[in-house]
Amino acid sequence: MLNAKPTIKSTLKALLYLLPMLVISITFSIYPIIKSFIMSFYTKYDFFNDIVSAYGFDNFKFLFSDPDFHIAIKNTLIFVVGVVPLTVILSLVIALLLNRIKWLSGFFRTVYFLPFVTSTVAIAQVWHWIYNSDYGLLNYFLSLFGVSAVSWLESPKYAMLALIIMSVWKNLGFNIILFLVGLNNINERYYQAAEIDGANAWHQFTNVTIPLLSPITFLVSVNGVIGSFKVFDQIFALFNGTPGPSKSALTIVYYLYQKFYTEWKYGIAAASGVVLFFMILLVTVFQLWYSKHHVHY
């Protein structure tokens, strides 16, 4: 019955249906989040016996005075700002082009989607070769234009750029698919109406495609921001288990990994996780606020 009033019995029944998913998400998401929040306040921790003898803000104090953490935050922000807009714009442009061609469109879609289903380690190995300063494809290509060899992965100056290029390329596939779905959902009638109303191809793009695609653009950029803040595996694979030359690709999650697995400073690792959590939260809330005014569902 659609108009039935909730009773204790019906509520319990509903809970029973929710139980399997609740058990999984509480065990693997909710509990670890709460635990790491608490852990970030451990100041004296005997991890052999799991005894906490003091709580406090020492971990956060350490983070704010640690130059490595400052580098990590700076690098993470550079990475996000470098990757997200480029990914959104490039995948939109490629989706628009793919939407136009009829010939071999299935083939091209597959080609662009492949990076998404390929393991990051394999991708990093390929890019490792592309970026090789002596016999890499990229330097060979640049030499055709008279650019002398760049040591992409060895120079602190270029390491972040190399990482951004690879990440953009890796992210394209999935975002192109999302944009293609969005483009196909725009009714042809709006374009016809716009043409009748005197809009040329560019005005049709800015007045119909862009606004009607805004929900997808929003999804892609929120997804991209969150994913980019959490970047780790690309760095690990591309720089052979180091955070790049002279920590030039040290990001927050890489910092967290180092503190946790190599230095066993659990409290500091947890605290850096908390900082990352609030950074992502802040940006996402801003994006949500922005979307209220500029995203048209």
């Binding site: 709006y190 109406a193 716009a194 009748i196 005197g198 809009a199 040329n200 005005h203 009607l212 048209h296």
Partner: protein, 375 residues
């Protein structure tokens, strides 16, 4: 055959005519459209739509009426033939250059823009200054009676309101031609009648040449100066509503126009009832007989009566002011709406076949008897 109609002399302009572009005459010369080079959708269309009139394109679904409209708008290009606006050849021009106004079946209002912004959009594209844009849009919103909803988004409006916004948007750039593609089909019955009167009013106030596509004969009959009946990509007849009903040029038009539908019989269903009343040579060529339900009277009408036929009442009923009877004539059903006397089922009933509303069609479906010109 070229369908050409003079501008009606009884054309009335009500209220203040909004100053706009001069209304245009639209001419199709031998226009053919085929998809993928094989399937021909429209065959050799020739017609002229007089300036300042409201013309309906009427036909069953799939007859090519929306396609014809798309070709007038410039969204579709004809495979062969020429299209003229006035004396200007626009065949090669796209929708952008033709500057027509169009209301789509689902209105196609931009969902992210407010009512005002929707109406302003064509003006914005024409680079009209912001102030003039707003003034003009409000003026149009008043014309279509939607000026109290200016800040709402289309999603918050009812079907009839969206329809009005779509018309205002189409009129915004003062088109010399307004195209309406089944604009009433998404509305409920009462609103449909209201909106068709509104469209008529707006057309008369603006004087813009208007082409209205519909599959509903009632809509076409009520709204238009002239009706073009289209079937299977060919013009069946292009004339006034009255002519269409009284003088259908062929069997299709006679069956398509009229409610209830005309009674259709084979000539072989008659014994000798028509002999002596219709020219023997015409009777020889006739294949089908069409009898309007009101052309079967149950009493003698003197000189109006062509002949009498013997029928048997199968069923009679009364709805409101209508009194219908379903009759049996040589084993074929006939419907009349003109019962005066009370009749019982299974009763023998002689009927007086009227000259007016009785047609004969030859093997190609062309009318050869009945109507004004007995040819």
């Amino acid at each position: 055959m070229l369908y050409h109609i003079d501008r009606p002399t009884s054309y009335i302009v009500v209220g203040n005519r909004l100053k706009g572009a001069k209304p245009l005459e639209v001419t199709f010369k031998d226009v053919t459209l085929s998809y993928d080079g094989k399937r021909e959708i429209l065959h050799h269309l020739n017609f002229t739509i007089p300036e300042g009139t409201l013309v309906s394109i009427l036909g069953p679904s799939g007859c090519g009426k929306s396609t014809t409209l798309m070709m007038i708008s410039g969204l579709l290009a004809p495979t062969s033939g020429k299209i003229f606006f006035g004396d200007q050849d626009v065949t090669k021009k796209d929708a952008l250059a033709r500057k027509v106004g169009m209301v789509f079946q689902n209105y196609a209002l931009y969902p992210h823009l407010s009512v005002l912004e929707n109406i302003e959009f064509p003006l914005k594209m024409a680079k009209v200054p912001k102030k003039d844009r707003k003034k003009k849009a409000i003026e149009l919103a008043k014309l279509v009676h939607i000026d109290d909803q200016l800040d709402k988004k289309p999603g918050a409006l009812s079907g009839g309101q969206q329809q009005r916004v779509a018309i205002a948007r189409a009129l915004a750039k003062e088109p010399s031609l307004l195209l309406l593609d089944e604009p009433l089909s998404n509305l409920d019955a009462r609103l449909r009648i209201e909106m068709r009167q509104e469209i008529r009013r707006i057309q008369q106030e603006t004087g813009v040449t208007t082409i209205f596509v519909t599959h509903d004969q009632d809509e076409a009959l009520h709204i238009s100066d002239h009706i073009m009946v289209l079937n299977q990509g060919q013009i069946q007849q292009f004339s006034s509503a009255e002519t269409l009903y009284d003088n259908p040029s062929n069997l299709f038009v006679s069956q398509f126009i009229g409610e209830p539908v005309i009674n259709t019989l084979d000539i072989t269903d008659f014994d000798r009832e028509l002999e002596g009343h219709v020219d023997a040579e015409i009777l020889q060529r006739a294949k089908k007989v069409g009898i309007r339900p009101e052309a079967l009277q149950d009493h003698d009408t003197g000189s109006e009566t062509l002949t009498t036929i013997a029928t048997k009442v199968k069923h009679s009923e009364k709805y409101g002011r209508e009194k219908n009877a379903l009759l049996d004539f040589h084993g074929k059903p006939l419907l009349t709406t003109e019962m005066r006397a009370e009749v019982a089922d299974e009763q023998e009933l002689p009927l007086y076949l009227q000259r007016h509303g009785f047609y004969l069609f030859d093997e190609n479906g062309v009318r050869i008897f009945g109507g004004d010109q007995d040819a």
